[in-house]
């Protein structure tokens, strides 16, 4: 049987009237919420999951809070994973208002309706909710049409989603949560300077004959005293051991011997003896330069903000022999200054005290150590090409908290900001800083105890003479 043709069952005029009444009610009794559509950046096939998401857009829309007596859900729960808040919210929005004011701005296929997985910012509680279900048929086809959406939302579970709207109240919701790595950046660097002098009858080179084995730390290097008799005439040197690599390796071999004082007044090559540190077998022989050997007189400017040992170059010897040219390496202190310069070859045949040049710290370049970062700005390491997003920046301590890391930042490299975020495109100058230290362990997570557990274990509980199979912490 067909419908009675003498009744309209809802004319377009009647339907419009109902929609208008609903819109008006929502605008009178509702609250303003922000609708934030999800951008899909990475989705896994087979195991269907959206692993990378970004929320950049926001649309303000009025909504009626269905659960006017309070949030639904079970409230705050103590779980084995810490506190979980299970607040739920049911919102009613107008179908027409959504289609008029949100759909036209969205490129998405499903732009015509609110989608599950999108976010709602609820200003009253300053929190983000994720839409988990959109009910579109309640009330059920009054006058033959649907007028509203009922959004069932739950509090957002944050992982590493980028929340980069233009609104600070929204963006700061995830500023201090989730995984945060810490970069400590160097200030404006300063190049170190040193002076040299010439000495005669001095140890100019120590050549390793046997690198030995079994040293638990660098062994002491003893050099025969100089016949000159003065204590400053005695040459001194330090041993550098190989780096401790390989699973289970706790001992080293000697890699090289660096001269800290070439001494003077030697008439024949002194004997070199390695002692202590548990190892054995290392032996070396020394060469002496009778005339014009380079000695580091002093470091009159220790520089500043060195993160890695800089290249040290010394002008060449007039003898023209490559082996007569002095070479040296620098030792950087914990404070970022040059603590010592050690000669790997003290050279010979110099007639004038040579010029020693210490490379500038990476923080010493033009414009490095200046500028500011803003939240959500993408930073890039200039040599490692790693990227990350800024969580927060403290200009005074130069501590930069970052998340969404791609790659591994290198010590000493320059990181540069993009100075543009979605919310603030092209602001000011781009910040450039050298990386002084990197901490990949999250120090700000209020739940994580990784660092505490590791420190307790390292304090004598665990015996890791066989290294931790899960990697060094």
């Amino acid at each position: 049987m067909a419908l009675n043709p003498f009744f309209l069952q809802g004319s377009p005029g009647e339907q419009r009237l109902v929609q208008d009444l609903i819109n008006e009610q929502l605008r009178m009794y509702g609250v303003d919420i922000y609708y934030m559509p999800r951008e899909y950046l990475g989705t896994k096939t087979v195991i269907k999951e959206n692993v990378l998401a970004k929320f950049e857009d926001n649309f303000i829309i009025e909504a009626y809070v269905q659960n006017y007596e309070g949030f639904q859900g079970s409230g705050d729960l103590m779980t084995k994973f810490g506190i979980r808040t299970t607040d739920e919210l049911t919102l009613v929005i107008s179908k027409e208002r959504f289609e008029d004011f949100i759909s036209p701005f969205s490129m998405d296929l499903l732009a015509t309706r609110p989608k599950e997985g999108d976010l709602i910012y609820f200003p009253l509680s300053d929190s983000l909710f994720e839409i988990k279900f959109v009910e579109h048929e309640n009330p059920f086809y009054q006058l033959g049409k649907l007028y509203m959406y009922q959004l069932t939302c739950e509090l957002f579970e944050y992982e590493d989603e980028v929340i980069d709207t233009s609104i600070e109240e929204i963006d700061d919701n995830v500023q201090n949560i989730g995984y945060i790595a810490t970069l400590t950046l160097a200030g404006i660097g300063q190049t170190a300077e040193a002076s040299t002098t010439l000495v005669d009858g001095s140890v100019n080179q120590i050549i390793l004959v046997n690198d030995g084995y079994g040293y638990t730390s660098p062994p002491a290097v003893s050099i025969s005293t100089s016949p000159n008799g003065s204590s400053t005439a005695n040459a001194t040197a330090v041993a550098i051991t190989t780096s401790n690599t390989g699973s289970g390796s706790t001992t080293f071999s000697v890699k090289e011997v660096q001269i800290t004082n070439p001494g003077f007044g030697y008439t024949q090559p002194p004997t070199i003896v390695f002692s202590g540190a548990g190892g054995s077998g290392a032996s070396a022989r020394a060469g002496i330069g009778t005339k014009g050997v380079v000695k580091i007189l002093n470091i009159y400017n220790p520089g500043a903000q060195y993160a890695t040992p800089p290249v040290v170059s010394i002008s060449t010897s007039p003898t023209g022999l490559s082996t007569a040219n002095a070479t040296a390496v620098a030792v950087v202190s914990a404070g970022g200054t040059i603590a010592q310069i050690r000669l790997t070859n003290a050279g010979f045949g110099y007639t004038l005290a040579p010029t020693i040049t210490i490379a500038a710290p990476s923080a010493g370049g033009s414009g490095v150590g200046t500028g500011n970062f803003v939240i959500n700005e993408v930073i890039t390491g200039e040599s490692s090409l790693s990227t990350a997003r800024v969580k927060s920046w403290d200009k005074d301590t130069r501590i930069l908290k970052i998340s969404n890391l791609a790659g591994t930042f290198a010590l000493g490299e320059i990181i540069v900001g993009s100075a543009t975020t979605f919310s603030t495109p092209g602001i000011g100058t781009t910040a450039r800083y050298a990386v002084k230290s990197i901490q990949y362990d999250d120090q700000y997570d209020t739940y994580a105890e990784n660092i505490i557990i590791e420190n307790e274990a390292d304090g004598g509980i665990l015996d890791f003479t066989e290294t931790n199979p899960f990697g060094t912490f």
């Binding site: 195991i47 692993v51 103590m78 590493d160 995984y179 003896v273 890391l405 557990i453 665990l462």
Partner: protein, 359 residues
């Protein structure tokens, strides 16, 4: 009897030891072009905690809270049970030197084997995260993984504690109404095979610092004559008091036995001396030239440079006198040699340990 206070923190140490295995797990997220865009370390914590602490630490602000940040891992100790299969004889004791009180030793009976059950729970937002975490953990357990725990540090007792993966349970509530939240939790259960030690007793029996044996010509002690006595005391084979008596003033090659010192006045024939880590014994002294036996007491003969310090290893050297010098400073656990004394008798006396003399 029961109720003497002691606490080795063995259970706590086992909890920490177990926890450190999992504090280095990382997960990564890639975009549609398979470029890693985000990497993060998975937070780990001991699950049980005081509720008010959890609240004020994890939610200091009441506004702007997220439901939870994921992924997270938590672990907890779920039980302790006696393991009869690893039981050892109960009367045996460990003895170790008491470094705090010279001459005393520490004594503890064999430990009791206990299995400690652990549960590691992993909650993730994505199934892909869960698979990344599990794949980083599971290959190390075959099904056991040994960690060495310093169970009782005061007696230097380190034990390998196998941690055995017993069971893996994965739950993923994705079915049903859209009103329910999807929760992905994996629970791994482990057993750590640990040991519990009792109280460590201080024992004033002391370290044996002198050995004396009397030998008789018959087993009948009434008629037997005492023939011979052998006594031995420890002799230091390294320098403890750092006396730096003198120094050599010329390089000393490995094959040389004549060394020239700054001043031989503090040295005497038969003294043991040490240069760097080589021990020598003095044969003769002529002026400041000293002839030595090289590399005594099993040390390695090596080159020494001019200016190397000469230390004397001093001591009484006769077992019938009290220990002095370096001999008296020997630290528990160090190697040492022996001073020996053999005496001959033709009497009927016997040694009385209580009176300390022959009777």
């Amino acid at each position: 009897m029961i109720g003497q206070y002691f606490y080795h923190e063995i259970l706590r140490k086992t909890v920490i030891g177990f926890g450190t295995l999992f504090n280095q797990i990382e997960i990564r997220h890639s975009d549609d072009n398979d470029n890693v865009q985000s990497r993060m370390k998975v937070p780990l914590a001991y699950g049980p905690m005081q509720k008010f602490l959890a609240k004020i630490e994890q939610q200091p602000q009441l506004k702007g809270r997220a439901a939870i940040t994921l992924p997270r891992m938590s672990f907890e100790m779920t039980g302790i049970s006696y393991d009869p299969s690893r039981k050892a004889s109960i009367t045996q004791t460990f003895k170790t030197c008491n470094t705090g009180e010279l001459g005393n030793i520490k004594k503890v009976y064999m430990p009791v084997p206990y299995n400690i059950n652990f549960q590691l729970s992993i909650a993730t937002k994505l199934n892909d995260d869960m698979l990344q975490i599990l794949e980083q953990i599971l290959p190390y357990f075959q099904p056991g993984l040994n960690i060495t725990i310093n169970l009782v540090s005061s007696i230097g007792e380190k034990r390998d504690v196998p941690i055995i993966l017993e069971n893996i349970n994965m739950t993923d509530d994705y079915e049903g109404s859209f009103d329910n939240r999807r929760a992905m939790i994996s629970t791994l259960t482990f057993t750590a095979k640990s040991y519990l030690f009792g109280k460590i007793a201080d024992n004033s029996d002391g370290l044996i610092k002198r050995v004396q044996i009397d030998m008789f010509d018959d087993t009948n002690k009434v008629t037997a004559r005492r023939i011979q006595r052998y006594a031995a005391t420890p002799r230091a084979i390294k320098d403890y008091n750092d006396d730096a008596t003198t120094a050599i003033n010329q390089d000393l090659a490995a094959e040389q036995t004549l060394l020239s010192v700054n001043s031989a006045s503090g040295l005497s024939v038969d003294d043991y001396i040490v240069i760097n880590s080589e021990n020598m014994q003095i044969r003769s002294i002529s002026g400041n030239d000293v002839t030595v036996y090289r590399g005594v007491d099993g040390t390695t003969v090596s080159d020494h440079v001019a200016g190397s310090i000469v230390n004397i290893i001093s001591g009484t050297r006769t077992p019938d006198l009290p220990l002095t010098g370096d001999d008296n400073l020997i630290v528990a656990g160090d190697d040492f040699g022996f001073n020996e004394l053999t005496s001959f008798y033709q009497d009927y006396k016997d040694y009385s340990p209580s009176q300390g003399t022959d009777v």
